[in-house]
Amino acid sequence: MFRGDRIKPASAGSVSPIAFAYMLNAPAALLIAGLVVYPIGYSLWISLHRYNLKRPGTFPFVGLANYLDVFQASDFWHAFGVTVVFTALSVAGVLMVGTGIALVANESFHGRGLLRALILVPWAIPPVVNGLMWQWIFNSKVGAFNGLLYSLGLIDSYRSWLLEPTTAILVLVFAHVWNQAPFAAIVLLAGLQAIPGDLYDAARVDRAGAVQRFRRITIPWLLHPILIIMILQTIIAFRVFDIIYVMTGGGPGNSTTVLAWLAFQASFVGLDFGTGNTYAYVIAMCTLGLSIVYIQALYARGEIRQ
């Protein structure tokens, strides 16, 4: 769009405005080009070769062989399945818990400000520490969770939550949701505050019940934030790594081996960079589509205008 108020920088000396603009962008653009764009290309290049540090000096071109190997391996499909299950449970959990927190924090009561501040506590905790914390809580011998259930009489003896396949993944989801739900709560709370109050008044006059008001007014008004949360959370959960490293190491067996963990293992334990890189590329491809939707959603909201 043509803009009449186009101006020159306050003083660019003898440099033309356009050159000045590119000069200002050079450091950021070069860093990103060198440390993101080049590696992506390089990574694609590696994934087309056999590259194993255990066999130094050889780097044969194998075309799509790495991908074909990967897609035929049961390891991959198992990890893919675990990743999908983890992602689905996490996104659903984050949305539900986040909505619950936001609905409570939106009411007016004494101490509301304190509650809103508390929402930031789980958010500020680095995922690695989050993993450490929950691993300690779910400890099989001395953990607080076992202690709590035992003293409430809900279990007869302490259980090894992280050493049983089903409970291990559920504990991971629980820990991840605790860390991520505050983000959803904050975004949803902002959405709730933007709903005009007279909508609810009008609904009350029409004798709409609480559930109906929630379905007819609240949910439709929150659609956009919900969409943003779902997309971002899907991307984040699909790449989960930190808490897997700290809490389960992919186990027991391979029951919590997600794709990122598989990529890490193949590359830095198996020293097979070709295969590891292929796993990593699959993660990138799976989340790429969502990322595009996300950018478009931001476009639609007018975050990007020029």
Binding site: I46, L120, P122, S267
Partner: protein, 296 residues
């Protein structure tokens, strides 16, 4: 609206009782797990291992925190060696996160100013380029970046982390700064230009002071992201020269011989800086999360 109460009986305020109950449950959910971590870190090892657990330390002690900085004396366990360097890891984390924040401010302000104020060919494409680079998952470029760092002989150096984190955080910084800069009236700069003041001086004395909230927010998000990062830190670093606190904490959690009280104290230590920042800058963070959706 006043609801009549003709019989004079005390009405039980069910709605407000329910509300306070819900608020209590939510608060407990948000706080209890972390509170338990803090409480354990104030116990002695024997108390932390008691069954059933002691919720409140009977005899609270700072010994676990002291052990990090004055490794001594009464403790002879295998953990002693592992925890002796925690001061160094703490310093590494601070150095990396601070450097990333500063670089974000400098490079981010430059790029964002150009994108917000100078109407130049390719500006829109650059903005999309930055935005798209944010969508690349870290794990997808981990191996090539590792090889690049090895080639540059930067492995196990703080610089490798500073470069990587700066690159990952810049797009968000540029994006937030740009949208904030656009809200600043142009008259300010026009007035400065009349005074024949140079661009740098104009920025320093006129433009940037007005943009302070956005600059603080950007620096803080960059700091917190760098402080919490783990994947690159665990791959790039190997010795005291560059190991960060998150890597040390992950070792606390995965090596069984470390005392549980030291493990929890280390965890608390690693949480404190981002937690304090989050609580101080609560308003800025909420604004940032809502408008830009950080931590992507």
């Amino acid at each position: 609206m006043r609801s009549g109460n003709p019989h004079g009986r005390a009405r039980i305020p069910w709605r407000s009782l329910g509300l306070y109950l819900a608020a209590l449950v939510v608060s407990a959910y948000l706080l209890a797990p972390f509170a338990w971590l803090v409480l354990t870190s104030l116990m002695r090892e024997s108390e932390a291992l008691s069954v059933p657990p002691h919720w409140i330390p009977h005899d609270p002690t700072w010994a676990n925190y002291r052990a990090f900085f004055w490794p001594d004396v009464t403790r002879q366990s295998a953990s002693a060696q592992a925890i002796g360097s925690i001061g160094i890891y703490l310093r590494n984390s601070f150095a990396v996160a601070s450097a990333v924040s500063v670089l974000n401010l400098v490079f981010g302000t430059m790029a964002a100013y150009a994108l917000a104020r100078l109407d130049f060919r390719g500006g829109r494409a650059l903005l999309l380029f930055y935005l798209a680079s944010r969508m690349v998952p870290a794990v997808a470029i981990l191996i090539p970046l590792f090889l690049v760092m090895r080639f540059l002989d930067l492995l196990d150096s703080l610089l490798s982390l500073v470069l990587a984190y700066t690159t990952f955080t810049l797009p968000f910084t540029i994006w937030t700064l740009r949208s904030y800069f656009q809200t600043i009236p142009r008259d300010l700069e026009d007035a400065a230009r009349v005074d024949r003041c140079g661009w740098l001086r104009m920025m320093r004395h006129v433009f940037l002071p007005v943009a302070t909230p956005a600059l603080v927010a950007a620096a803080m998000f960059a700091f917190m992201a760098s402080w919490s990062e783990f994947l690159y830190a665990v791959i790039f670093t190997s010795t005291e020269a560059s190991k960060t606190l998150t890597v040390a904490v992950s070792q606390f959690a995965t090596e069984f011989y470390i005392e549980k009280t030291l493990m929890t104290a280390g965890g608390v230590l690693a949480v404190l800086p981002p937690l304090v920042l989050a609580l101080i800058f609560q308003r800025l963070i909420v604004q940032g999360l809502v408008s830009g959706s950080v931590k992507g």
